[in-house]
Each structure stands twice: as structure tokens, then as C-alpha cells.
């Protein structure tokens, strides 16, 4: 033993820097870094050289130029006189719009179907299974085409629109509903709504306190609902009903007035929601099944009803399993929204494509696409990681 110890100390003292694993590690890291930087520098230089030699313009100056084309759906004001940069912002907002709505709907639908697959009711269970197996196994582009060509484009022409109650119309140009024109004092209603929410939160806090101290329960849900519906309604009456509707009317070509949701948005939104919901359903099912059966048995033994068991015992534990794979599904949905280009929805890729064509600056546009999608994805990941950390089991 002693001799070995002396040997080792002698060895470490004599080791040359060439054989030191730490120094070697740093050396090779540095070498790789220098190589990578050099490679990127060479690529960029080479590309710029060749673009110049081929007489192709480069740089981001084109973003300041007049767009010259129109965009059908825009959340911000846009005309052909706006800049190309603004056109790209319009596309970005449209991508965001369809992604956010898609994520919300897919989550709700996915949770319902996922729980439905574990239902004790045979019919519900089978219907949910068929839903999942169908949508999970069809490429998203076909789902989009199904909605666009199969469902929405066979609807009647504007002149033969399907009339629905409350001044709503459905035709091959989309879904129309009346626009709310708020009159004077309409802000009172918004104020009442905010007060109602504040009161509801207050009631919830008080009720929890009471339950903790006395064990008595209070019908929080119904009280909150009454507050949130009742107070704004009261304010609406007091303000003298300051609301008129602008109902869509038929003109030469289209229905005008009201709000129009175009079939391009509608089919993309429905397709993305239905497609992603199938995956979310499986994740939810896996999450719930990952909670040991003993947990529900224990809560049943405590006398909790099935609904309460699910809400208070099973789902909170299942969430820890669900959230990480759910993040990838949200990212997938967002990236799949670029399939919009196939049906003419003006998302970032579609508008970027138009710009690319009108200006011919492919490298810049592709760089913008990559940067935006990467940035968005990282943001979503960041948020979901935060949410995951919040939901994680706090060890005491």
C-alpha cells in the first residue's frame, strides 16, 4: 500500500502538460472553436463573394422598401404602401395568432379526449380511441386539405349563404358574425367585469381560509359565476344598453360588414388543433396512467367522489409527467403552422416567400425565417420549463 502511494505522488508530480487531461481538454476545445469560427468565416465570406460575382443584391436594406403587394389577413394596418419589414411583421403576427388559438384548442380537446380514453363508459372510450388513431396517423398537411378542400370550400356561395341564428352566416368565403359596436359608457361594463373578477378571487381566498379553519365549504364556483356574469350585466343595463350590432350584408361580391373569419385561417386552425389534440390526448392518458392506482384508491377510501379525485389527486400528479412532452407538442404545432403556405394563409413563411420572390434575397429571408422560428420555439420552451418547475413536486 505504502509503496503504491509513493508511486502515485511521484507520478502526478512529474506529469507533463502534454498528458494533463485538463490541459488537453482545453486545448482540443479551443482547437475546435477556432476551426468552427474559421469555417463559418470562410462560408460567409465565400457566399458574399459569390453573390457579388453573380450580381445578386444582398443585405437587409430591402426591409425598408415599399412592399407593393397586399395581404388579405392582417392584425395591424397594412397596405401595399407599407414597408416589406412590416409585411413580415404581419406574417409573424398571423403565425402567432394561429399558433396561440391552436395551442389553446388543442390543449382543451386533448385533455378531454385523453381523459375520455380512460372513461369507464365503453362508447366514450372507443370514440376517443378512434379519434386518436385517425388523426395521429394522417400527415398534418392532409388534415389541412381535408378542412380546406373537403369541408370549407364545398360550402355554398355568398349568395346562398347558410343563415344561422344571431346574424351569423357561413359560406365558402368563411364564417361571418356581427360586429359589436360599443356605444357611450361601455367602459362601465369592462370595469364591472374587472371588479367581478377581483371579488371572485377574494371569495375564493376567504372560502379556502374558512375551510381550513372550520372545515365548512362554500360554493365558490357558483358565487364567482354569478358575480362575473351578473355584475357586467347589471352595468350593461345601467349604462342604457350601449350596444349595437353591425350585421353582415350581401353586396355585389361578398358579404360586407360584420367580422369575417376566412376559410384559410379556419381550416389551418381546425387542422392544427385536431391533429395536435390527438397527440396531447395520448400524453394525457400516459400521464394519468403513470399515477399509481393506489392514489385513487386511497382518495376513494377517504370518501372523495370520482370527479374530485381526478381533479385534486390524479391530475396534479399527472401534470408532472405530462408537461415535458406537452412542450414538444406545442412546438410542433407552432412549426406545423408553416404549412399554411399550401392553402394561402398569410403566415410568416407565405409572406416571406412572396418577399423572397419579389426581391430575390433568398439568404436573408431564410435567415429571418430560421431566427424567428428558433426564437419562438426557445420562448415556448422557456415558458414551459418555468411552468414545469412550478408544478414539480416540492420536496419538504
Amino acid at each position: 500500500m505504502a509503496s503504491q502511494d509513493t508511486l502515485r505522488t511521484v507520478d502526478t508530480g512529474k506529469v507533463s502538460p502534454l498528458n494533463d487531461p485538463k490541459i488537453r481538454g482545453i486545448f482540443f476545445q479551443a482547437l475546435l472553436f477556432v476551426f468552427l469560427v474559421g469555417f463559418i468565416y470562410w462560408i460567409i465570406g465565400n457566399t458574399i463573394d459569390n453573390l457579388q460575382r453573380a450580381h445578386i443584391a444582398s443585405g437587409f436594406g430591402f426591409l425598408e422598401r415599399r412592399a407593393g403587394f397586399d395581404v388579405s389577413d392582417s392584425l395591424i394596418s397594412f397596405s401595399s404602401d407599407s414597408t416589406i419589414g412590416r409585411a413580415l411583421v404581419v406574417g409573424f403576427l398571423n403565425t402567432l395568432l394561429v399558433s396561440v388559438f391552436g395551442i389553446i384548442t388543442a390543449s382543451i380537446l386533448g385533455f378531454l379526449v385523453g381523459i375520455g380514453r380512460l372513461s369507464t363508459n365503453w362508447l366514450i372510450r372507443k370514440i376517443c380511441m378512434i379519434y386518436v388513431e385517425i388523426f395521429r396517423n394522417i400527415p398534418p398537411l392532409l388534415v389541412i386539405f381535408f378542412w380546406y378542400i373537403g369541408v370549407l370550400s364545398v360550402l355554398p356561395q355568398p349568395r346562398e349563404s347558410i343563415r344561422m341564428p344571431l346574424g351569423m352566416f357561413l359560406n365558402s368565403r368563411g364564417f361571418y358574425f356581427p360586429k359589436f359596436d360599443w356605444g357611450e359608457h361601455a367602459w362601465l361594463i369592462g370595469l364591472a367585469f374587472l371588479i367581478a373578477i377581483a371579488l371572485a378571487v377574494f371569495v375564493k381566498v376567504k372560502a379556502t381560509q374558512r375551510q381550513m379553519t372550520t372545515g365548512q365549504q362554500f360554493p365558490v364556483l357558483w358565487t364567482s359565476l354569478a358575480l362575473i356574469v351578473g355584475l357586467p350585466a347589471l352595468a350593461f343595463l345601467l349604462a342604457g344598453m350601449p350596444l349595437t350590432f353591425e350585421v353582415p350584408k350581401l353586396s355585389t361580391f361578398n358579404l360586407t360588414g360584420g367580422v369575417q373569419i376566412k376559410p384559410e385561417f379556419l381550416s389551418l386552425y381546425l387542422a392544427l388543433s385536431f391533429y395536435t389534440a390527438a397527440f396531447i390526448a395520448e400524453i394525457v392518458r400516459a400521464g394519468i396512467m403513470g399515477v399509481p392506482h393506489g392514489q385513487s384508491e386511497a382518495s376513494h377510501a377517504l370518501g372523495l367522489r370520482p370527479g374530485t379525485t381526478l381533479r385534486l389527486v390524479v391530475v396534479p400528479q399527472a401534470m408532472r409527467i405530462i408537461i415535458p412532452p406537452l412542450t414538444s407538442q406545442y412546438l410542433n404545432l407552432m412549426k406545423n403552422s408553416s404549412l399554411a403556405v399550401a392553402i394561402g394563409y398569410a403566415d410568416l413563411v407565405a409572406i416571406g416567400g412572396t418577399v423572397l420572390n419579389q426581391t430575390g434575397q433568398a439568404i436573408e429571408i431564410v435567415a429571418i425565417w430560421m431566427a424567428v422560428y428558433l426564437g419562438l420555439s426557445l420562448l415556448v420552451s422557456l415558458f414551459m420549463n418555468w411552468f414545469n418547475a412550478k408544478m414539480a413536486l416540492v420536496e419538504r
Binding site: N50, H55, G68, F69, V71, S79, I149, R173, T252, A350
Partner: protein, 343 residues
């Protein structure tokens, strides 16, 4: 992150290489590989579409075949790359195709900023509008189109002219924009839009592919100039010259009355102009100057005929389109086709 970086680096490498490839002499490349790689439309009746046997036919296709005939003496030594309006310029810039003959409008931006050269005009066109006359019986002029939904293909001059026209006439419209011609056609046919707009020649061609062609009419207004022509990359004058003079030769052949049927006979003509054009002049080196053989015009005419023959076969009376020559008639017969002389 690292993956994204790698992908970025790889695609940049690819672009860098493609840009480098674009610099070699195109004519040498073409001769070496034995065929012309030609970018055409994905399917526009009369201009470029595959026939029932899968052979590409059309007016733009004939330009490709004529160039191949001038180089190889064989109009079939062409490989076709169908391109959408959006892909076409990248395909030419990157060197994927040698020649873009795809009803493409010659504009200043495309000539300068995109780095192309237009070898001339093979079809003088203008943008028009098509509507379903059965559904919109009251509409007889484009000025009545305020409030309409308009189907248009993205990345075209059409898209820009449309915005300008409606703005200039203080009219509103609702653009419905698609990337592919087929998608645009389907959307118009299903009634997603009231109006279809593109070059008038295109409208006539598209009308034939609709469910009930007779229900649709092309409105009389022409709202723009659309000189369509073949394009090549800037910076390769030899190739540019060859494509330019191939087109000119087709027009000159029509002026001189040289046709597919009589070209062999015409070789024995004693008219100096015809002898010169067909390479029968003693010691002539017109072909050599272009980098091809002396009987290049003979080969072109044998392969596709003269300009007029190609026009009538693909677009005119010999085709279902029945488009009149109009502006695309020779200058001597009331049109504006005018080719510089071979001398």
C-alpha cells in the same frame, strides 16, 4: 441549438457552392453534360405542359428545344425542371437550371437585382381579369370589381400590378394568394374568389382547365405590360448571346419564310440573306461566333419550326387556345416582333 447551427452552416455551404458553380461557362457545361436543363412552368396549357405521352410541349418549351437544337442539332436534348412562380428565380440563380423559359415578365428588378439577363421577348402579354359571367352577369368591366375577392399567384408581377390597379382606381379588394398555379385554379373554380387575375394568355389557358370553361369570360381591360421572355444568369455573355440569337433566329426564319417543311429546300436558295441565315454562305462563321455549328438555324427550324409555326401550333389556330397573334405578329404585318439581323 447546435443542430440548428449545423443545418445553417450546411445550407450556407450548399449555397456557396451553388453560387460558385454558376460562374463556370454555361455553354461548356451544357456541352459536357450533353443536355440543356430548362426551367419551365409546372403546367400552363400552350406554354409548358406535359402531353398525354409525358413529353413536354408548349411555346416556352419550344425555346428550350430550340436552344438544344442550336447546340446539339437535336431538340430532344433537354431536361425540364417544372418550377413554381416562387421557385423559378432561386433555381436559375443557384445554377440548378441553365435557362428559365417560364412565361416570366422582364422587369428592371429581375434584370438588375436578381442578377439575370433577359434574352428578349417571346410573348408580349398584358395582365387581365377573368370572372364567372354566369354568377356575375352584371359585370362587364374591371372597374366594377370593387369589393371582390381576387385569386392571384404569389411572387408574380401580377400580384404587384393588382395592388397598383385597385389603389389607383380607389377600389377595395380581397387578395387570396396561392403559391402554386394548380392551387390558384382550384380555388377560383370552387368559388373561393370572384376574380382570377394573371397574364391574359394565361387566363385563356386556365379557362380551358376549368369545370365549365364557357361560363367564364376574360374582361376587356389590360392593366399592365407583361413582356415575357427567357432569362439566363448575368455574367455569362456567351450563353446569353446564344439564347438571345436562338430566339432572334426563330423570328428571322419566319420573316424569311423558312419553315420546318421547306428548310432543306431553302438551303439551296440563291437569296444572300437566306444563304447567310442558314449557314450556306462561303466562309461564314456566324455559328462559330456563338459557339455552335454553322447550320444552327437549320437545326432550330427543324426542331421547332419558325416563330410563327411554334406560335400557331401551341397557342394559335392549331391549339385549343386559339389566341390571335395580336402584338406578337411580325413588325411587317402589324405586330411589334422585330429581330436584329444576322450579319
Amino acid at each position: 441549438m447546435r443542430k440548428a447551427l449545423l443545418t445553417g452552416v450546411l445550407s450556407a455551404t450548399a449555397l456557396a457552392y451553388m453560387a460558385a458553380a454558376a460562374n463556370a461557362s454555361t455553354l461548356d457545361d451544357v456541352k459536357k453534360k450533353g443536355f440543356v436543363q430548362c426551367g419551365v412552368n409546372t403546367g400552363l396549357a400552350g406554354f409548358a405542359s406535359p402531353d398525354s405521352k409525358g413529353n413536354w410541349v408548349g411555346f416556352d418549351v419550344d425555346i428550350c428545344r430550340a436552344v438544344a437544337a442550336a447546340i446539339f442539332g437535336d431538340g430532344s436534348k433537354v431536361k425540364f425542371t417544372p418550377t413554381t412562380a416562387k421557385e423559378r428565380f432561386t433555381a436559375l440563380q443557384s445554377g440548378e437550371i441553365d435557362l428559365l423559359s417560364r412565361n416570366t415578365t422582364w422587369t428592371e428588378t429581375r434584370d438588375t437585382e436578381l442578377g439575370f439577363n433577359f434574352a428578349g421577348v417571346n410573348y408580349y402579354d398584358g395582365q387581365g381579369f377573368m370572372i364567372n359571367a354566369k354568377k356575375l352577369s352584371g359585370v362587364t368591366s374591371a372597374l366594377q370589381l370593387s369589393g371582390a375577392s381576387v385569386c392571384v399567384q404569389t411572387g408574380t408581377t401580377t400580384e404587384l400590378n393588382l395592388a397598383d390597379y385597385f389603389k389607383a382606381n380607389h377600389m377595395e379588394y380581397n387578395p387570396v394568394v396561392f403559391e402554386k398555379l394548380e392551387e390558384t385554379n382550384a380555388a377560383y373554380d370552387s368559388g373561393r374568389c370572384d376574380v382570377y387575375t394573371t397574364d391574359q394568355s394565361g387566363l385563356y389557358a386556365i379557362r380551358l382547365s376549368l369545370k365549365n370553361p364557357d361560363d367564364h369570360v376574360v374582361l376587356p381591360e389590360i392593366i399592365s405590360k407583361e413582356p415575357l421572355g427567357p432569362a439566363v444568369r448575368q455574367g455569362d455573355d456567351q450563353w446569353f448571346d446564344l439564347v438571345k440569337w436562338t430566339l432572334n433566329a426563330m423570328i428571322i426564319a419566319e420573316e424569311d419564310g423558312i419553315t420546318q417543311a421547306n428548310v432543306e429546300e431553302m438551303k439551296n436558295s440563291d437569296k444572300p440573306e437566306i444563304k447567310r441565315v442558314l449557314g450556306q454562305e462561303k466562309g461564314s462563321k456566324y455559328g462559330a461566333d456563338l459557339g455552335v455549328s454553322e447550320d444552327w438555324v437549320v437545326n432550330i427550324v427543324k426542331a421547332v419550326g419558325n416563330y410563327g409555326e411554334s406560335f400557331e401550333r401551341n397557342l394559335g389556330q392549331g391549339s385549343p387556345l386559339k389566341i390571335k397573334r395580336g402584338l406578337n405578329q411580325l413588325w411587317s404585318k402589324g405586330g411589334i416582333l422585330y429581330a436584329p439581323p444576322i450579319r
